[in-house]
Amino acid sequence: MNKTAHTPLFHVSRRAPLPWYGAWAIRGGALLLALIVCAFVTTLVTGLNPLSVYGTIFQGSFGSARRAWVLFQNLAILLCVSLAVTPAFRMRFWNIGGEGQMLLGGLAAAACMILLGDRLPNWLLIVVTVVSSIAAGAIWGAIPAVFKAKWNTNETLFTLMMNYIAIQLVAYFIIVWEVPKGAGKIGIINQSTEAGWLPMLGSYKYLLNILVVAVICALMYVYLNYTKHGYEIAVVGESERTARYIGIKVERVIVRTMLLSGAVCGVAGMLLVAGTDHTLTTTITGGRGFTAVMVSWLAKFDPLWMIFTSFLIVFMERGASQISTDFGLSSSFADILTGVILFFIIGSEFFITYRLNLRHTGKEAD
């Protein structure tokens, strides 16, 4: 190495793999930094004591029993979509169409509730709703997969564009089913009869969703790590050629995995429409289809870690929105804070894989 040349202040080198606690310490540190920067920004804007800012973040997530439930409900839905996209990601199939697959699932659920609401007994209606949502999501997910398998189209663009088609489809049907005519929104479906609404467990509105997602999470963990399908997905993800060589039918795995991915997204959409919201809007997914990509990545595609990463994101989002409400700031302020937090969390992944060598340490090392 040319010692006379100007040595940069620092250079970046790849780390040896960190033990799990090391990686999580870096993530924890990033979160801490994010909190400090958020408090700093908020204090600058509002002149408030940073500690009360933290208090508010916590207040927004756990301030009351209801808020805690909402937190876990949001966590459950986000986790559900994250789980849905994960098998595809493990296969190196970049499914960023979670949004659209969810919307289609929701659309199917709304269609059943609106069109069959007074024609079927409630238990049958719920069965039909669940089945058709899963089918709708699965089909929406399988379309790009078939194209990928047959003609090797780019799945990233394809799934992305399918999102917009889904949004327009939903917008169309909202106009078809709008109440009252001309209002441009559906309102709460079957508000008086509650037909097709998923049953409430005890007096806990969100409990069913949370349990369903917990079960999906456990199943997904087993499916990905302990089944033949899961193994095939991993092999296809590592190398398609190897997969072909050892006799895996790659096309079949791609389509099958995307059917699963879409189906679970459909479940998420159904949980929203039939479970809690009982309506359909083009914004019902709240961008979770995209956030899920991040949740899944941050957790390194591990379903159990995803519980934690989705908790982190939902917790911070709820806290940030509470800050903007309490201090009378525009709701965009919540987006700024969420942005700061995500910046740090994603940035921390860089420091898990790489290390910065400052100038003097660099010399010593050499």
């Binding site: 310490a25 924890g28 801490l32 909190l35 500690l51 009252p180 009982h278 309506t279 009378g328």
Partner: protein, 448 residues
């Protein structure tokens, strides 16, 4: 390793701090929410006493606003119920519609010394229910939502929280829902639209008199959001106002399918101008139409508030609903433990319907006087905006029309709205139900 440990410990501390901070805060809303539940009962008990006493009626002659004072002086030291109002807005201050609500909220709450919280950008979905419940967790005992599509979610929240009062602007269901704590409010804004229409008609007449356009070219353009009664009632009353001054006026209406979409509203206004409209008005909430009017030099009659900054050379006048009187009403009711009307309709007399100052630089001469004259006629009950003699439907004058006042999924017409020679708008419920397609107005697209 030590560094890592230190980091972890620091993290633990932060969370511990959060936990402490959160814990103490949670207690507050709970106790607060307990109060309003208990207080109305004691208030109600008291309310009967003053009525029985002989001294009270002597003071009853005083204006209603002062009625609180005697109640406060009563022997038991029960003060007016503490009120905290939560406002839910569809958009933020960028939208002229929401800005109008937010300004009134600030004005009314600060004048009455009542704490309030405003939540902006709450979509017309489950988010509205969440926002309402969240505001209740923060100790609010009056929740107000400003957009039509919030209604179902407000009702859902109202059912779950009987001790909290829910007030909703532009909604239609309160009078049939049968909930004690859910209320609708609106104003007879068709009066205001009609007055704004007079300003438009004056401008058209002036343009004809100046030879800028012929009488046949007096075509108004109107950018609407959706095709339901609130918008139809708005553009029809505006048109009738204009035609009362300029008989040859016609109108074209286009719809955007959104309450706030700058690009679509600009496109819509431009389309109307290209189509030969010589004056534009709108019922959509961005500055899209006013800004396009300004760049095209086409006069604009606005809504919700003055848009003179977006169009100093084209803005004529704006009508708006002033929500402060309603806010004061609902806050006073809750403070005194009185019920709020299921349907409240403001008008010129309550100060709810307002016509802002005329921009003399653009408006035709004599506009202010003509408006003042019409105001006097409306207040005297001589002038009715939806006078059946003033419009025809398919060439015929109507003497009967069943309106859909009680909302149901099949839109069953249920109430006779025409009597005494005019359409009784906003009488059987506060929200508009005039949805007739009158002659002289052409709808360009009705996709929404």
């Amino acid at each position: 390793m030590k560094k890592l440990l230190a980091l972890l410990l620091a993290l633990c501390m932060v969370f511990a701090l959060c936990a402490c901070g959160g814990g103490s805060n949670t207690a507050a809303p709970e106790t607060e929410s307990a109060e309003p539940a208990a207080a109305p009962e004691t208030e109600a008990a008291e309310a009967e006493e003053p009525a029985a006493e002989a001294e009270e009626p002597a003071e009853a002659g005083e204006p209603a606003a002062e009625a609180e004072e005697p109640a406060a002086e009563a022997e038991t030291p029960a003060e007016p119920v503490d009120v905290k109002v939560g406002f839910i807005c569809l958009h933020d201050e960028q939208s002229t519609y929401d800005l109008n609500f937010m300004n009134a909220a600030t004005e009314a709450c600060e004048a009455m010394g009542v704490p309030y919280v405003i939540k902006t950008n709450i979509p017309e979905g489950q988010e509205c229910y969440e926002a309402a419940m969240d505001l209740i967790d923060d100790g609010c005992n009056i929740i107000f939502a400003d957009s039509f599509g919030h209604e179902d979610y407000m009702i859902q929240a109202a059912k779950e929280c009987p001790e909290v009062q829910f007030c909703h602007a532009t909604g239609t269901k309160a009078h049939t829902e049968g909930l004690d704590n859910y209320h609708n409010a609106f104003a007879a804004i068709f009066d205001g639209r009609y007055l704004a229409g007079i300003a438009a008609g004056m401008k058209l007449s002036e343009m004809i008199a100046n030879g800028e356009i012929t009488a046949d070219q007096a075509k108004i353009g109107y950018v609407g959001a959706f095709t339901y009664a609130e918008v139809i009632s708005g553009y029809t009353s505006f048109f009738l106002g204009a035609r009362s001054v300029c008989p040859s006026a016609t109108m074209e209406v286009t719809f955007t399918g959104s309450w706030y979409d700058l690009a679509l509203e600009q496109e819509g206004a431009q389309k109307l101008i290209d189509d030969g409209c010589v004056l534009i008005s709108q019922h959509a909430d961005s500055l899209g139409a006013p800004s396009v009017c300004e760049s095209n030099g086409v006069p604009n009659v606005s809504y919700n508030g003055s848009t003179i900054e977006a169009g100093p050379n084209t803005y004529i006048v704006s009508s708006r609903i002033n929500w402060a009187p309603y806010y004061e009403y609902m806050i006073t009711c809750v403070q005194n433990g009185q019920p709020i009307d299921a349907d409240w309709t403001g008008d010129l007399a309550t100060g709810s319907v307002e016509l802002l100052e005329v921009n003399e630089a653009v408006a035709a001469e004599g506009t202010t006087e003509a408006i003042a004259e019409a105001v006097a006629a409306i207040e005297a009950g001589e002038l009715h905006v939806f006078d059946t003699a003033a419009f025809t439907v398919n060439g015929e004058t109507l003497d009967s029309y069943m309106a859909d006042v009680d909302t149901d999924p099949a839109y069953t017409p249920d109430t006779e709205a025409i009597a005494d020679g005019w359409f009784h708008e906003s009488e059987y419920r506060s929200a508009p139900y005039f949805d007739l397609m009158i002659d002289g107005i052409e709808l360009l697209d009705t996709a929404f």
